[in-house]
């Protein structure tokens, strides 16, 4: 509902494109002030400009603790508070397990898992400052429940994110800081460009189509608002039935 996030401030990592951009749009339309972060300054600045409302961009490497400290300080300076943090930034590559250099495995855990850990840590510290509680949303994946050949490193990272949300929910619940995981299936974004929808969707997806990024953003919006004030440690699967069978 329009206005349901009036007065709230949100940070969305990987907000320049895809699911992150759709989340920024949904949260801004609901009245939140939004800081989107990402590696590509050009893409991020254009994304912020394209959205109505108070939407800003700052560059960030989510695997860098120092970058997180800077981003949180920037959010504090801009908005005076943080209520919502969407840890969306992530990478995906295919690599057969037995041939994968450790560096490749590690590079993925750095962005997907360490990035989510730092998001919870810095997000909780920021929300704690005003003591009114808040919502941290970690974008995991259905690949945190199932897997596929050549995706061991991706599944490992996304399963880690899924359980990180539960552990954080237990630890932060008493402060009304809710932590939930959203598990998208195939979504029409740059990340799924190697997977042709017309070939894959009819076989793999019961609903026979991929999702629009906005359909994932709706789950994030639900998790961000007081409509989910009793929900923490939960998993919101948005996959068109992919993991149902």
């Amino acid at each position: 509902m329009a206005g349901e996030l009036d007065g709230k401030a949100a940070i969305i990592t990987g907000g320049g494109r895809g699911i992150g951009l759709a989340c920024a749009k949904a949260l801004a339309e609901a009245g939140a002030r939004v800081l989107i972060t990402g590696r590509n300054a050009e893409v991020g600045a254009a994304a912020a400009d394209s959205l109505a409302g108070d939407v800003r961009f700052t560059q960030q490497d989510v695997a860098s603790d120092a970058d997180w400290s800077r981003v949180m300080a920037e959010a504090d300076a801009a908005f005076g508070r943080v209520d919502i943090l969407v840890a969306n930034a992530g990478v995906s590559t295919a690599f057969p397990l037995a041939d994968m250099p450790l560096e490749d495995f590690r590079a993925m855990q750095d962005v997907n898992l360490k990035g989510a850990f730092l998001a919870v840590k810095h997000g909780a510290q920021a929300i704690r400052k005003h003591g009114e509680g808040g919502s941290i949303i970690l974008i995991s994946s259905v690949m945190g429940r199932i897997s596929a050949p050549a995706y061991a490193h991706y599944s490992a990272s996304k399963t880690g994110v899924r359980l990180l949300a539960k552990a954080a929910a237990l630890e932060l619940g008493a402060e009304q800081i809710r932590v939930n995981a959203v598990l998208p299936g195939f979504v029409r974004t740059d990340m799924t460009a190697p997977f042709p929808e017309e070939q894959i969707a009819p076989m793999a997806v019961p609903m026979k189509r991929f999702a629009d990024a906005g359909e994932v953003a709706d789950a994030v919006l639900f998790s961000a608002t007081d409509r989910s004030k009793f929900m923490t440690g939960a998993e919101l699967v948005v996959d068109g039935g992919l993991i149902t069978r």
């Binding site: 509902m1 929910a169 359909e215 709706d218 989910s228 009793f230 923490t232 919101l236 149902t244």
Partner: protein, 257 residues
């Protein structure tokens, strides 16, 4: 509760709407502009739900229904069609609870809880599918299971069996519904400890108990029917247009423990 614009003009059947979560959902749906058929067995309480829906500025009626009777379902979906021109949403919320050690649970006890929770939900899906298909707009079915459909609880063997069955049926029905064009989505909601008459009539309406449950919940609060209404509205509306076959747990974090 927060109104959901995507529910406007949807025709929804909500069972067990004479109290608790069902009544809250009926109010929220009516307030959001849906056309609601609220059902239940207690006619006086049903009249009160009808009044609350009108006060919420919405369009809603109460119809007496025993969800375990197929003829009742035929009558209720018939009313949806004749009064509101079709059907978009079924919220299979009605259910009963029982705490009894397994050795003391009789077959009669089991049959009673099974017929209402499992067969009632099954019939709601079956007749919901028929009526939603006939209407031709696609739709959403929300089955209210429980955290006890995901984890165990001592003394609740029969109840857990029924709530687990609901989660299982939900997934099969979701796959059938996904085959349809437009699709019918089917999901289950898994509430944790919610302070309703179902709980107080079994454990006692005791403020100390309420505090104990809250203390035992990671969010340090007790669940209220309104919170479940918001989750039901999410699953029932197009806000979850790509969500089907899922278990949504709203439990203050208990299940994560």
């Amino acid at each position: 509760m927060t109104t959901v614009a995507e529910l406007k003009d949807k025709v929804a059947i909500i069972t067990g709407a004479t109290k608790g979560m069902g009544r809250s959902a009926a109010q929220l749906f009516a307030q959001s502009g849906a056309k609601v058929i609220a059902t239940g067995r207690d006619e006086a309480a049903g009249a009160e739900t009808e009044k609350l829906m009108k006060e919420a500025g919405g369009e809603g009626i109460f119809i007496r229904q025993d969800i375990a009777r197929e003829a009742d379902w035929e009558r209720v979906v018939g009313e949806a069609s004749s009064r509101f021109g079709g059907l978009d949403v079924v919220v299979n919320n009605a259910g009963v609870f029982m705490v009894k050690p397994i050795e003391e649970t009789t077959v009669e006890d089991y049959d009673w809880i099974y017929q209402i929770n499992v067969e009632g939900t099954f019939l709601g899906m079956k007749h919901g599918f028929r009526a939603i298909k006939e209407t031709g707009r696609g739709g959403s079915i929300v089955n209210v299971s429980s955290l006890m459909g995901q984890v165990g609880y001592p003394g609740a063997t029969a109840y857990c069996a029924t709530k687990g069955a609901i989660a299982g049926m939900t997934k099969s029905a979701a796959l059938e519904g996904a085959e349809l064009d437009p699709p019918i989505r089917v999901n289950s909601l898994h509430p944790g400890v919610i302070w309703t008459e179902m709980l107080t009539s079994n454990f006692g309406d005791d403020p100390a108990l309420k505090d104990a449950f809250a203390e035992d919940t990671p969010l340090k609060m007790i669940g209220l029917p309104e919170y479940m209404a918001d989750a039901i509205a999410y699953l029932a509306s197009d806000q979850s247009s790509y969500v089907t076959g899922v278990e949504l747990t709203v439990d203050g974090g208990r299940g994560a423990d």
